[in-house]
């Protein structure tokens, strides 16, 4: 019998991984590859969490990924390519995204319609064309991005304990900006308003307005995307998540779907096991948890008395990030026939990100969207003569709190209709008459399939006070239960595919260290 199909009634594991999202999958694979006995439990019947796909008719839609960050070329591998190819050695193919984005701002006072290329010099030139005289200030912003990247690489190398003198001497611009939001830094750099609008289109990937989002995180993200480009999986995210799952099984890890962990059993501050929705108890001293701190401390830890007060305070001090609505469409005509040349479209009413963010609390069609034409990155992703377009927009999670079941279907259709209209108006391309398949995912949908708290998909907001810098600095102090490691979008690296994947690896490394200390593995 195939060894990988060992059974769930082995009631004792070295490590239990809760949730097969990006973080959980990587964590499970890395620990399994070290020879530890692991089980990965997932409540849904698919791997991936948000990193998935869905089939409607003759189309297969990408669930949530727009652009994978930090993958880069085979010659100059990014962190995620290194993880996938060299560490996990998984069988999944990625293709580059053709351009950074097309930004369309529709408000006549701000009017912008510009296609921004990858490549820092190319990008700067493209902005200069739109906003003459902006070149030097934009260049400085990218230089800051580079310095932040170097500083975080150095801190990583020093395992979170950098030499303060080295930081002060060699990474001063990183230090001086780490406590400030993007607006403060861009003001200091004198970047013209319109150039900022163009430069800040990626704000939606962090979901916090530029008046509040932390500079370290934002500048590093913009620099990384523009320098290294972005990639997407050829067969949708379900390809690489399935590939990681196959790797876990290859190393004798057990993966059980339709299995929801209801309790993490804790005794005197130490993890002792978990209990599933089928009542079974699995003994373990190590849990790697892909669920958020919000869900874990509020619902999973058992008994409740084992949750220290500070854990609740840490959650309540933060703001849960945004959630999304996605309209997936299979069209019965090609992108070429429609005249859509680009892959990624940021379309908004204004680039006043405060105004946009504030409006996301309203239960109406949001004035901002990030839309994709998948065929312009993956030409064969749908049958000949067709194409796939998806429109993503955001909501503050509480916007949907009072929606009644009987209102739900009409509500999501109405919002989707508005998003389609806005896309058509901004691009001048008519898609409505070509819709062969349409599906609309909402916060409810994301809650249903992943169990994420209140449908939130972005983790805690990355303001300066709680950016990845202080999170990483304090990550050891903020472990409240022995044997419990977190991984995923609510974690120390913030949200996003790449952050979650890397966070899974970090959680695995901590767990592996403990297992070595305990003499369980070598």
């Amino acid at each position: 019998m195939n060894k990988s199909i060992s059974k769930a009634n082995n009631r004792s594991y070295d490590v239990v991984v809760i949730g097969a999202g990006n973080g959980g999958l990587v964590a499970a694979a890395r620990v399994a590859m070290k020879g530890a006995k692991i089980i990965l439990l997932e409540q849904h019947n698919l791997p991936g969490g948000f990193a998935s796909s869905s089939v409607r008719g003759r189309f297969e839609f990408e669930t949530s990924l727009h652009e994978l960050y930090d993958y880069s070329t085979p010659k100059n591998k990014g962190g995620i390519r290194i993880l996938f190819e060299d560490r996990l050695n998984i069988d999944a193919e990625f293709v580059p995204v053709p351009e950074a984005y097309r930004l369309i701002v529709t408000n006549p006072d701000e009017e912008i319609d510009a296609v921004l290329p990858f490549g820092i010099e190319e990008f700067i030139e493209a902005v200069e064309k739109e906003v003459p005289g902006s070149k030097e200030s934009i260049r400085k912003f990218f230089q800051l991005g580079k310095e932040i990247d170097q500083a975080t690489t150095y801190i990583g190398k020093m395992r979170g304990n950098p030499d303060q003198d080295v930081l002060l001497r060699e990474h001063t611009n990183f230090l001086r900006t780490a406590a400030y939001p993007v607006d403060d830094v861009q003001n200091a750099l004198n970047i013209p308003k319109k150039a900022r609008a163009i430069l800040n289109a990626y704000w939606l990937y962090l979901g916090v307005p530029t008046s509040r989002v932390n500079t370290t995180v934002f500048a590093a993200m913009v620099y990384g995307y523009i320098l290294k480009g972005a990639y997407i999986p050829k067969m949708r995210s379900h390809e690489y998540t399935s590939a990681i799952e196959a790797k876990i099984r290859e190393y004798n890890g057990v993966v059980e779907y339709n299995t929801k962990v209801e309790k993490i059993l804790v005794k005197e501050g130490q993890v002792i096991g978990i209990q599933t929705n089928k009542g079974e108890i699995i003994n373990t001293k190590h849990v790697i948890c892909n669920a958020s701190q919000t869900l874990t401390y509020n619902n999973l830890i058992h008994p409740k008395s084992e949750v220290p007060e500070i854990a609740f305070k840490e959650i309540n001090a933060r703001t849960h990030g945004i959630t999304t609505i996605v309209v997936y469409m299979g069209l019965d005509t090609t992108a070429e026939n429609l005249g859509l040349k680009d892959y990624s479209y940021f379309i908004c009413d204004t680039m006043d990100t405060d105004q946009l963010y504030d409006s996301l609390i309203n239960l109406e069609t949001p004035k901002v969207q990030a839309s994709l034409c998948l065929n312009n990155a993956i030409p064969g992703c749908s049958p000949p003569g067709t194409c796939i377009i998806s429109i993503t927009s955001a909501f503050r999670p509480s916007a949907w709190d009072k929606v009644k079941p009987q209102e739900y279907f009409n509500l999501k259709t109405r919002i989707a209709e508005g998003l389609i209209e806005n896309f058509e108006k901004a691009t001048g391309v008519q898609i409505r008459d070509h819709i062969e398949e349409i599906e609309v995912a909402t916060p409810q949908t994301f809650s249903r399939f992943t169990g994420t708290y209140n449908g939130v998909i972005y983790g805690y907001e990355l303001e300066s006070w709680d950016s990845v810098v202080p999170r990483l600095q304090n990550m050891n102090e903020e472990k409240h239960i022995k044997g419990l490691e977190f991984c995923g979008g609510f974690g120390k690296r913030g949200h996003g595919y790449s952050s979650s994947l890397k966070d899974g690896e970090t959680a695995a490394l901590f767990t592996i260290q403990s297992l070595i200390k305990e003499g369980i593995i070598e």
């Binding site: 611009n173 830094v185 200091a188 379900h238 500070i310 609740f312 739900y408 398949e437 006070w465």
Partner: protein, 412 residues
């Protein structure tokens, strides 16, 4: 970027010392913020509540009344079984189905049945399912024997994609129904009349005999009352037709042309495989874009031997199948002409399943070894599932001895 310029970068936000101090104090200030925050646990999760309400894993129902529709069909009115924890029924989109879970003399199986009542009836506390008794039908024979007023029924939440979507479909619906395939159109018709769906519908409803027509009186009354919204044409394949408003024969291109605004309509098909084969051929004449034709996909394939590419020479064979499901492993027989899901149900493994036509992916399983035949018209697998050896057992048939890993049941 030139080296010179890089060295020159010197950002000051407030002042050099204040900027550095702000960095130095990040952790301490953060700690203060944490300490000041509330220590109250979070108790509510509204999206989880909405998701549970719209998509319950299981609904416990009880039969409130049974109505004889025809000699072979009955309509079951189902209400929530509060004793078992179902307080409210899940809302749905007209055209969706429920997957019933029934224990037939120790064999646990599932079957999809379209909801025949209106979504607004959910708010009144009931669903209706109309079920036709099949000759020698494994489940329906049991239902006719056993289901009485008061019988407890277990069901999934509402499922399926066979519904009107105003962003995609024309406001002129042509429903083409065969036999008991009429049931979802009752729900759609009610929703149209109640204003829940802004469209009008022409129904072309094929039956073999007059006495097989379901909802005849009910639809006649609706049609009379709302002629601008609903039009029904009965097409009977028997030789003599005496009922008012009936056509004799089959749902041909001529019939479709006679009653429908073909170019401006969305066609919704629901019926047996044989009807799809016939009607789809007839529709080809109109050269409609794919988006104008939607087909309900539920139900087992009756005769796998007729499917394209099925190897006839193994028709009589039985194979061995090793099934891993959670903590159990079992070796069971699998007939070449029966889907893997049926083989597992026969062996009392009760694997998860819903649509039973390859579409929903709920039974998605890992094929560890062996080969299967997959019905090409029911292969809705994800591309990567094909690559990594995942199959949908409800539309897969054994071609050799097999070993598969099936997901566990969602609930015991």
């Amino acid at each position: 970027m030139s080296q010179k310029k890089e060295k020159n970068l010197d950002i000051t936000i407030k002042s050099t010392s204040r900027d550095l101090l702000a960095f130095m104090k990040l952790s301490a200030n953060r700690k203060k913020r944490f300490e000041k925050a509330s220590n109250e646990p979070i108790k509510s999760d509204p999206m989880n509540e909405l998701a549970t309400s719209l998509h319950p894993i299981r609904q416990y129902l009880v039969i409130e009344s049974i109505k004889d529709e025809t000699k072979t069909t009955k309509t079951f009115k189902l209400t929530p079984n509060k004793e078992l924890g179902t307080d409210e029924l899940a809302y749905f989109r007209p055209g969706q189905y429920l997957s019933l879970k029934v224990n037939v003399n120790g064999v646990e199986i599932t079957r999809p049945y379209s909801i025949a009542s209106s979504p607004s009836d959910v708010l009144k506390g009931f669903y209706e399912l109309t079920i036709r008794k099949e000759e020698n039908g494994f489940l329906t024979t049991y239902i006719w024997d056993q289901w009485k007023v008061g019988t407890k029924i277990e069901s999934s939440g509402p499922e399926g994609f066979f519904y009107f979507d105003r962003l995609r479909d024309s406001k002129q619906i042509v429903g083409i129904a065969g036999g008991s395939g009429i049931t979802p159109f009752r729900s759609i018709a009610k929703a149209i009349i109640e204003g829940e769906i802004d469209a009008k519908m022409t129904l072309l409803y094929g039956s073999s005999e007059e006495e097989d027509i379901i909802y005849y009186d009910e639809f006649k009354a609706l049609e009379k009352q709302f002629p601008e919204k609903l039009k029904i044409v009965y097409i009977l394949s028997c030789e003599v037709v005496s009922l008012e408003g009936c056509e004799q024969g089959f749902i041909t291109a001529d019939i479709i042309r006679k009653y429908c605004d073909v170019k401006n309509s969305s066609f919704f098909l629901c019926g047996p495989q044989i009807m799809y084969n016939f009607v789809e051929k007839e529709l080809m004449e109109f050269n409609l874009p794919a988006r104008r034709i939607r087909r309900e996909a539920f139900g087992e394939v009756r005769d796998v031997l007729d499917l394209p590419g099925f190897p006839q020479e193994i028709a009589e064979k039985s194979f061995k199948m090793i099934v891993h499901m959670g903590e159990q492993t079992k070796e069971i027989p699998a007939l070449a002409t029966e889907s893997l899901i049926i083989a597992m149900e026969r062996a009392k493994l009760a694997p998860p399943s819903k649509c039973r036509s390859g579409e929903c992916g709920f039974c998605r399983s890992l094929l560890i070894s062996g080969n299967v035949y997959i019905n090409p018209i029911s292969d809705w697998r994800r591309a990567a599932d094909k690559k990594f050896g995942y199959i949908h057992p409800c539309s897969s048939y054994p071609l050799s001895d097999l070993e598969i890993k099936v997901p566990r049941k969602l609930r015991n």
